[in-house]
Amino acid sequence: MVEELRKSEFRDPIHGFIDVWEHEKLIIATPEFQRLRRIHQLGLESYVYHGAEHSRFGHSIGVMHLAGEAVTKIFDKNKEKLIQAIGGGEKEAKALKKKLYFTARLAGLLHDIGHAPFSHPGEDKLFEEKIEHENYTIPIMRNSDIASIIDRYKDKTEVGSQDIIDFLDKKCIYQFPFVRDLIDSHYDVDKMDYLLRDSIYCGVEYGKYDLLRLIDSLTLDTESITGGYELAIHFDGLHTIESLILARYFMFAQVYFHKIRRAYDIILTDLIGDCLEEGYGKRTYPTPDKVSDYLKWDDTVIFTKAKELENEGDKNSAWRIINRHHYAVVYETYPHPDPREINTVNSLFKECQDKFKGVQFRLDSAVGHPEAFKQESLPIVGGGTGPRRSSLATESVALKGLAMINQYRIYADVKENLDQCKKVKDFCRDFTNK
C-alpha cells in the first residue's frame, strides 16, 4: 500500500499476522494505548468463562486490521464510482484509496481508547449524563502524542489528526459515509472482530461465522438514492451476514447477558462508584475535559482498591470481587418476556423487598437489540435470480423471528446464607405461579 512507510507484523490469535505501519506502531506504544492492556474486554466475564481474560488492546488492533481489509475490498470493487465523486484520474484515485484506508485503520485503532475500567459494566451509571466512552477519544488524541504522530505522517498517509477528529465527530460531515458505517454501525468491523475474539477467548462456538467471506461480500450500493456511497452486501454474502447477526444474538444470550456476568456487572458498578466517591465526592468518572484524571482509572486500580477494601464490612462488593462470590439469582424471565411478565417481575421485586427486610435485592434488565440489524435496510446488490437490489429486512427469512432481548432478573444479597436463599426463591416461585 505505501512504499515509503516501514511495516511490522503482529501475530494475532484471531487474524494471524497483522500488518502494522510505523505510525500505527508509534501510537500503540503511547501510554494511552498501552492502558488498553489493562481494560478487560468483557468485564468480569472470566468469572464465568475463565479464558475471557483478553483486553481492549488486542481487539483494537484487530478492528484496525479489519477496517483496512474492508476498505481495500470495497474501494477496488467500486473504484470508478469513487473516483467520479472526487474527479481526477489514477493519481487522485491512489491518493483517495490511501486516505480512506488509513482513516479507517486509525479510526479502528482508536475507537475504544476511551473505555472505562472493565469496558461496559456501569456505563449507564458511572458516566455523567449524555457522556459515553466515545466522548473521550478526541480529548485523548489531543492530550497525548497521538495527534502529533498522525500529523507527522500526513505526507505519507494523506491523513492528519484533524481528518480523524472530523471522522469521529458525529456532528461533522463526512463525504464517504460507508467508511463510518464500517467503523460504527450494526454491521461494523468492531462486531466482526469482537464476536470471533470473544468466542475464542471464552471457549464457545456461538460467535463464529465466515469472516473472510463476509469481508469479500462487502460493496457499495452505487445506485442508491443517497448518492451511491452506502455500504451494501453482495447477494452471495447474504447468508454470511445472517450468520453474523445470529452469532451476535447467541453471544448476547449466552455470554454477554449470562446471569453471573450480569451479577458481577452490578457488583463492579457498586465498587467503582465507591472508589470514585472516595476520590471525587461523586460516583461518576471525570468528564472528558479532565481526561488526564480519567485515564488514571484502569482495571488494576480497581483490583488494588478491592484488595484494600475486601475486609471492610460484611461480604462487601470488594470481597465479592476478590473472592468470586456473587449475588444469588432468585428469579429470572426468559429472554423475551411480554409486557405482562415484565409487570409481574416489577411487582415481585417490590414484594421481595417488603417481605425480606434484611436482604438487599437488585433488579436487572439485560437489553440487547440484535433484531435491530434486520431493521436496518442494508442493501443487497447483485444476485442472478432474485431482485437486483433488496434489503435484509425483506430478503432474510432466517432473521424474521429474531426479537429484542429484554431479560429481567432479581438478585438477592443473602450473604451466602443458603437457607435464606431457598426461602426467597420459594417465595418468588409461589408469587409467579399465583
Binding site: A85, K130, K170, K171, C172, I173, Y174, Q175, P177, S224, I225, T226, G227, G228, E230, P339, H369, E371, A372, Q375, S377, P379, I380, P387, R389, S390, S391, A393, T394, E395, A403, M404, N406
Partner: protein, 170 residues
Amino acid sequence: MAQEYRIAVIRYIVGKLRDVGKIRIQKLVYFLQWIFKVPFGYDYRMYHYGPYSDELNDDLIVMQLNKQVRVEADPSGYGYHIFPGSEAVTTRDDILEKYSSQIDKCLEAFGKFEPNQLEVLATLHFVKDIAGVSDKSKVIEKTAMLKPIFSKQLIEEAYRELENIRSSVS
C-alpha cells in the same frame, strides 16, 4: 426528557399520521427538537438519509416491543411503515398538553413534504446549525456533496423554504 415522555410524544405523532415511514419520523422529530424546541434530548448524526438519531430508533424499538407501534417493512425492501400499535401508551396528558401546539405546528409546516424533501431540508439544517457552517453558499455546497442525487437548484429552493419556515416560527 425522560423516555416515557418521549414515547408519549412519538405515539401522538404516529397516531396523527397513522402511517409514517422511518425517514419521515426521524426528520419530523428532528425539526420538533431543533426548530420547535421540544426538548427530546436526542443526539443526531449525519447518516445516509440525513440527520439520524440512534436513540430515537431505540425508542421506536421499545415501542414496537411494547406493541405501542407496529412496524412493517415496505415490500420494495426500502423503508418501513410505522402504524399505531394495539397497546396504548400510559397517558401522559401533561406532556402532550405542554407540547401539542408545537407538534401540530411542526406537522403543519413539515408534514406536507415527501421523505426525500424532508431529507434535504433536515440536511441543510444540520449542516448549518449542527456542523456550524455559516455561509449560505457553503451550506448549499456541503449539502450537495452529501446529497449528490439532488440538483443544486432543488437544494437552493429547499434552503429558501427552510428559511421561510424558520422565520415564521420565530
